[in-house]
Symmetry: C2
Subunit: 585 residues, 2 copies
């Protein structure tokens, strides 16, 4: 096992191999992928599909002088195996030690640390422009696929590459006929026509952006790819290589069900059975249930997603049931929000679904297209908390700073099943302004609690106490509640515990009253504190004689962290907080 | 004068007119445009070019049932004149009473309040989707032109319109061969081929997005346009009408120099001479001078702009001098930042130039493409302060909340000519991290001051005083300095005045020391306080016995305001502040 792969320490070692040996290397790489993915999960389809392209790239070009920029970079596993990081795939004890995305801190062969889509050509254009003014000669290669072409940043970049650069740039459009879910958008019809005509169809989208173009239908054949890459190496102008590949190549189940195998948790290779975690209800399931019921009872309700239906469990079956009340705009976050604003203006009740991290693509659309117009659309965001995704490339911890400072937007943070349900249903029917809701990521809290828009911005005192008031928002309401018990045990008094519910507003009256009756107010937010929720409270109370301390995460790109370790670094672990109270009470 | 226009109170009145009368109406509208533009300035070229399209639209369709969505909406003047707002063009006393952009608060004929580019098709897609699920029958028409097609949001939207909508949508691509400056991007080469072949060229960009298409070359001929619009009225699928028009049509100077006449200050109609304001040096001229000198002395320096060179006075001559050290990516803010990140990674020294408001399009690119990678690019932003642009659609007051909470980014606010120069030159050569600089908009301050990166995040005490410390950032440093004099006069003591220089950092040591030696700390920031700079200080000092008060603007979309009035509303006028000090000292 891994006989050829074992001989490859760096890309140089590949160049000595015969085509037959390269084919065996492809088999070894797939074995390595299986080893990692069955045990710790990760992106399956994109990596199995790109094995041959990666081998041929490293065979023909000279990384890291020649530069590969992988879009999203979720398809970089074979590249990592060929650039000094094979043990992280084939030796179990090292599986968790590297990221699933490119990272210059890991290797000079990785040019950028990325995880969002549609950036590769845009970043490569910068490498090209700088190379040209600095007098460099290397090849620059952008690899884009899996639906990333529909994102605005990618389309802007193709347009620029097609006219503002007149030097070497090789864009590999890895066409596996699939996005995360199925592809959406007219350009994918064009790609199909190009595949069907072996690249000769009229209305070539790449040529309409001014780019040169070659079609290659044997995208999983190493010999064909080597020949193609040799043909364009050192080319003096930008060119698109439209290469047809098979997503999930080498594993029948994945070839047949591309959406289910885009990303996978650990699984059994023989049966394909996925080892999912706990069977307990989570907040995502709660939200999905509400969405499906609302759609059935209200024909004006419209679900919109930028290719992330699965983040809320909306599989093929659910999408069919939703029918015309569902629109997947493809990877196109700007369009998702603008579409919601337009639909709300016209009287529908739109709900946008995606993960917080991807909404960073829509800051201006949320601010101008939506909130400046105060159109009543709802945005429901998953993975908003440091409890959920822990890759810096997909972190949701900047949600409150990004969204809570935009005028006209109500930003809600449910802390229980009842609150989530009340907030989501009230928001969908609310007509006064747009609403964004940050999904909790901790275990479902079934306590009695309710929510309505009767008094915008009102906080709820969930426990009346003395001396110390704890205000915990989002996932960290639970933290405030836990700390309350510890304070009672340590100091013998019961602190006040407040659930603010709104991250966009402060309850001035309640805060002033609390400040006057308590010695200190501690805030806890499940995200970065800078620009966030607690700082608004500190500012509001800046003139009063009360100690205010904001706990949360720092202004940092935390990557693959232990949350307990982060708390210690930020001095927001319970020991540090108890000490702070002791010293200041 | 205005004989036909006087008979038009609403679009209904147009439908009675003969084609000849419609042509006279076009002349009246141009007279109205001249009256407004010569006296108060505004967008010239876009409005003069679209007169005939607007008349024909209102003749054939029935606004507001049929819905027109204007991209940017800077070309909506003729539309406003035909929908009950002609006196705001032809009667001088009403010139300043309406916005230069569409605004639903002004008229039901205006569907959205917008000012940024590339939104029209994206918003129209939402109107279409909602109309279809609600069972409506109206026509929905998006009007896009002037370079907006290269923006990611527009391209995402064309892609969605080309496959996810199968009902009425009419997209007018108003092709006047020009953006704000010249167009950039391969798609404009395609548009030229389409113009040259009367729409029959291969590689039709619209068709590659899956859209139906008609070319019309007589875009300033009312009869041709009426015939075209009648042909597509009530069409059952999305279609692009590619219409060739002449930007600035009807004024020779504007037809000949499109860039200079895209927008104009008040001018003399006979001579074309523009009535610019003061001849004194402003900060834009200071920055331009630095940029041109740096480019001459440093071949690694690269200027990048998303079609906003003129915001920094980089006219055709300057762009020619910059040569290969200059790249205009067209209207494509995401690409601008990604290109800068890539160029910095490859060793160039990139500087991105635009206005703050447009950087809202690049929140994710600044965070991920640039700052997560910590590539040392510089972003220099104009119109960041409430002193500059006062349209809600172009306001820069959210710059500090948006940028100061992104990790790894140094956010600088110069307050004098010397500081701007030191900051810009140091930032361009700085290698440790990306830097953003918010340009001041007040009168140039020539006081002695200097800046270097020796001590990141250090504030400077510009006046040592007692009792009250004033921290003024950006344009509002001047406000703090003025207030200092008033305090001295009113209370007889000299307050401390601090220039923080960094909006992204706090100088903890200096702040703690100041808190211990002063009774109160007042912060002043030239933007919205929520999520901004002062709140970081309030949070940092929340545990100390000092009064902290954050002054600035509220979390609101201020529109065409008097700044003094805003100060009064926010209780941050000098009277209110003096009172606050009196009551709390």
């Amino acid at each position: 096992m891994y006989e050829i792969l074992k001989t490859v320490e760096s890309p140089k070692d590949i160049k000595r191999l015969t085509v037959n040996e390269l084919r065996l290397l492809a088999e070894d790489i797939r074995e390595g992928l299986f080893n990692r993915l069955t045990k710790i999960g990760g992106h399956f389809g994109p990596n199995f599909g790109i094995v041959e392209i990666t081998i041929a790239l490293h065979y023909v070009f000279n990384s890291p002088e020649d530069k590969f920029v992988f879009d999203v970079s979720h398809q970089c596993y074979p590249h990592k195996m060929l650039t000094g990081r094979k043990k992280e795939f084939i030796i179990d004890e090292f599986l968790g030690t590297i990221s699933g995305y490119t990272d210059p801190a890991e290797s000079d062969h990785d040019i950028f640390k990325i995880g969002h889509t549609s950036t590769s050509v845009a970043l490569a254009n910068g490498l090209v422009k700088a190379r040209d003014i600095l007098g460099g000669k290397e090849n620059i290669i952008a690899v884009i696929g899996d639906g990333s072409l529909s994102g605005g940043e990618a389309l802007e970049a193709l347009n620029v590459a097609g006219s503002e650069l007149n030097s070497n740039l090789i864009i590999i459009a890895n066409d596996n006929e699939q996005s995360i879910s199925e592809t959406h958008g007219g350009l994918y019809k064009s790609l199909k026509e190009l595949r069907d005509t072996k690249g000769t169809a009229q209305n070539n989208i790449f040529k309409s952006f001014g780019l040169d173009y070659i079609y290659e239908e044997n995208g999983n054949d190493i010999a064909s790819l080597i020949s193609l890459f040799k043909r364009v190496k050192d080319i003096k102008h930008p060119i698109v290589l439209h290469i047809k590949t098979q997503k999930g190549k080498g594993y029948k189940l994945a070839e047949e069900n591309k959406e289910a195998w885009h990303w996978t948790p650990p699984f059994d290779k023989e049966t394909g059975e996925k080892k999912s975690g706990s069977q307990k209800e989570d907040y995502t399931a709660v939200a999905k249930d509400i969405i499906m019921k609302k759609a059935k009872s209200d024909p004006d309700f419209l679900v919109i997603t930028p290719n992330m239906p699965m983040s809320f469990g909306l599989g093929i079956k659910e999408r069919e049931i939703l029918g015309k009340q569902f629109v997947d705009v493809g990877i196109a976050e700007e369009q998702a929000i603008a579409l919601a604003s337009g639909a709300a203006k016209r009287g529908a009740k739109p709900l946008v679904l995606t993960n917080m991290t991807f909404m960073q693509r829509s800051y201006d659309q949320i601010s101008h297209d939506l909130c400046l117009n105060s159109n009543p659309a709802v945005i429901l965001l998953n993975a908003c908390s440091p409890n959920s995704v822990r890759d810096a490339t997909h972190s949701g911890i900047f949600g409150i700073p990004m969204l809570s400072n935009i005028p006209n937007l109500l930003l809600l943070c449910p802390t229980s099943k009842n609150e989530l349900s009340d907030m989501l249903l009230s928001a969908i029917d609310y007509k006064e302004s747009p609403v964004a809701i940050l999904m909790p990521s901790n275990a479902v809290d079934y306590r009695e609690s309710s929510f309505s828009f009767d008094k915008i911005g009102s906080f709820v005192t969930e426990q009346k106490g003395e001396k110390v008031a704890l205000i915990g928002i989002g996932d960290f309401f639970e933290r405030a509640a836990l700390l309350s018990k510890l304070i009672e045990k340590t100091f013998g008094f019961k602190p006040t515990v407040i659930n603010p519910r709104y991250a966009s507003h402060i309850d001035g009256e309640l805060l002033t009253k609390t400040a006057k009756t308590h010695k200190m107010i501690l805030t806890f937010e499940s995200g970065a504190t800078d620009g966030g929720f607690g700082q608004k409270i500190a500012s509001h109370l800046g003139g009063l004689d009360v100690i205010v301390k904001n706990y949360g995460l720092g202004k940092k790109f935390y990557d693959r962290y232990s949350l307990e370790q982060v708390f210690k670094e930020e001095k927001s672990d319970f020991d540090s907080i108890i000490n702070f109270i002791k010293n200041n009470i």
